[in-house]
């Protein structure tokens, strides 16, 4: 397939010093413009899978192809040109200005003894402007809210101009409103042609995004399909070990994932 962005085949991963395989024979695919939601219980290896796809961790066996090339043979720079990684949370050590922080996304396109110029700075301002963040461009990174920081991490990934963007639990540290604003942003990005992978603890987010879903099980295997195929009541109930209902809610015009009660 020519529009295949990620092709993960049969990867196994174990953290050094541990017995358990976090990932065992995990496979999945991601096509251009697709959104893939990775679900799974705590500790099942969602973030590990994402880190392997970002080239931050090396699987023990199996292959990960990014735009047709095996990432084990690619440099950090080559991977970063094709994939942006949005971490769960950025813990700042120094207070860069918002603009300088976002500008760091140009790193994969900048030489080791070089720095981005005025043109790239202007492009950053444009992206911030488009995301409605133009007003805070001059602020210190420490003086903005958690929701705004999340937006900056996304802006930084956009500035990388990658094919795919990987989000590690993008909604974990956000309030209810910001969670859904981030999901809306992700959906919009997919429609602009980015291929997106997110990990989440909320199956309802996968239903809201309404594209592809994958579940990482405790045994390290992965199943993947459309979110309707994958997110069934039986499967979710068994993954999370409690009764979970999926209902079509007429007033909202969508299917939602709910817990009947405590």
């Amino acid at each position: 397939m020519d529009n295949l962005i990620y092709e993960v085949s049969n990867i196994t991963f174990r953290y050094p010093g541990y017995e358990r395989n976090v990932l065992a024979g995990a496979s999945l695919t991601l096509r251009k413009g697709e959104i893939l939601c990775i679900l799974g219980p705590n500790g099942a290896g969602k973030t590990t899978l994402l880190s392997c796809m970002a080239g931050l961790l090396k699987p023990l066996s199996g292959t990960i192809k990014l735009c047709g090339k095996d990432i084990s043979g690619m440099s950090e720079r080559e991977i970063a040109k094709l994939t942006g990684f949005v971490p769960q949370q950025h813990i700042p050590a120094f207070d860069y200005s918002v603009l300088d922080f976002v500008l760091m996304g140009r790193a994969p396109h900048t030489g080791i003894f070089s720095r981005p110029g005025a043109e790239e700075k202007a492009r950053c301002l444009e992206v911030l402007e488009n995301m409605g963040l133009g007003a805070i461009a001059d602020k210190s990174y420490l003086d903005i809210s958690g929701g705004e920081r999340q937006q900056l991490l996304i802006a930084r990934a956009v500035i990388q101009s990658p094919e795919a963007i990987l989000f590690d639990e993008p909604t974990a540290h956000l309030d209810y409103g910001n969670q859904h604003r981030t999901l809306r942003r992700i959906k919009q990005m997919a429609s602009e042609g980015y291929s997106v992978v997110i990990t989440t603890h909320n199956p309802d987010h996968a239903l809201l995004l309404g594209d592809k879903a994958a579940i990482v099980s405790r045994d390290g295997s992965v199943i993947q399909g459309t979110s309707e195929e994958i997110l069934t009541e039986e499967r979710l109930s068994s993954v999370y070990g409690m009764d979970i209902k999926i209902r079509y809610i007429e007033e909202l015009g969508r299917t939602a994932c709910l817990v009947p009660g405590l």
Binding site: K81, A93, F94, F113, D138
Partner: protein, 345 residues
């Protein structure tokens, strides 16, 4: 969150910071050339310097020339170089280890250089060999520090910091042993003097032979200043932005070590400059290493020059420099930490 003082409040003055600091440094250099127990008037000073540069005929006092060119100028230049080198390597270390509390000697370079110098003093070597031995000691100590994480099969920055503590601790024990067996009349005083740092016996040849290497190291670090911003995001994020973290961090460590070891060769070990000056730099120039690194260099030079001139003119006998940098640096650092308490958690 409260507004932090290291903020970008001075962002708009950012472009001006470097030239303003540079002018201050030049003015201070001129002042320090004139001030001393033997006074030279500023007019005479300018006449001698411009005459020397232009090669015009001598219209000034020979005593003044000897004092200025032979004694004071080398000493002032040494203070400028050492201050800049220590502040630059401190700022770089704080960036790449994303820890504002590290100083250039935390991988063991200063303690290693001290051991190197002490061994040479103990063996009654000539002063050139003491400098070579100090330089080698500093480099070897850092090399050992870098090897420890490799032996433990870990490439994390934390492991490197802990390895630095191990090497630093071992080095100070060795130094203690050398001081214990050294001849208290002659050798012990020389070792202590070396340990506390001084510009009183600056060796012109040492400065000239170390300068080219230091300039190369400084140019490399300044050229990488934007990437040091990237490294300061942490290993994972830097890697995901395409940085070869280990290679880049390695280059930064090698260059910073060369700078610090070179500075130790010129003046002995001088504490506090590499820790405090980058903080002060962040306060007036912001955190962006593209501005912070050159700003820290100039502030380091200004501070070192000021401290050395005070030791030179205050009191009947010259004090070692580290005594004064500590007396000024410690309370100053406490004040900086007080102002940064919101971001240092």
């Amino acid at each position: 969150m409260q507004r932090s003082i290291t903020g970008t409040t001075n962002k708009h003055t950012g472009r001006l910071v470097i030239p303003v600091l540079f002018v201050v440094l030049l003015a201070l250099i001129m002042a320090c050339l004139c001030i001393g127990k033997y006074q030279i008037s500023p007019a005479e000073c300018i006449r001698i310097l411009s005459g020397k540069i232009a090669g015009t005929q001598q219209t000034w006092d020979g005593m003044d020339e000897n004092m200025l060119i032979g004694v004071r100028l080398p000493r002032v230049m040494a203070a400028v170089i050492v201050g800049a080198a220590l502040a630059l390597s401190g700022a770089v270390y704080q960036g790449i280890f994303r820890n504002p509390l590290v100083s250039p000697d935390f991988l063991g370079v200063s303690s290693g250089a001290c051991v190197g110098a002490a061994v040479a003093i103990l063996m009654a070597m000539p002063s050139v060999m003491i400098q070579v031995s100090a330089f080698a000691g500093g480099i070897i100590a850092v090399a050992v520090t870098m090897l420890i994480p490799r032996m433990l099969r870990s490439d994390s920055g934390i492991m490197l910091v802990l390895a630095g503590i191990i090497v630093g601790g071992a080095m100070s024990s060795i130094l203690g042993f050398i001081k214990y067996i050294a001849d208290p009349e002659t050798q012990l005083a020389a070792i202590t003097y070396w340990q506390l740092g001084s510009f009183a016996y600056v060796d012109n040849k040492a400065v000239v032979s170390i300068l080219p290497l230091s300039i190369i190291a400084a140019v490399v670090l300044l050229a990488m200043s934007w990437w040091i911003n990237i490294l300061s995001l942490g290993e994972q994020e830097a890697k995901s932005l395409g940085a070869r973290v280990n290679v880049m961090r390695g280059i930064c460590i090698v260059c910073s070590t060369v700078l610090t070891a070179g500075a130790v060769c010129i003046s002995g070990t001088i504490g506090w400059v590499g820790l405090v000056i980058p903080h002060f730099g962040r306060m007036i120039a912001g955190s962006d290493n593209r501005v912070l690194l050159p700003a820290s260099m100039i502030i380091g030079s200004i501070f070192m020059l000021f401290v050395d001139t005070v030791t030179r003119i205050a009191g009947p006998a010259e004090m070692p420099v580290s005594i004064l940098t500590g007396l000024i640096g410690a309370p100053f650092f406490a004040w900086l930490l007080y102002r940064q308490r919101h971001i240092l958690r």
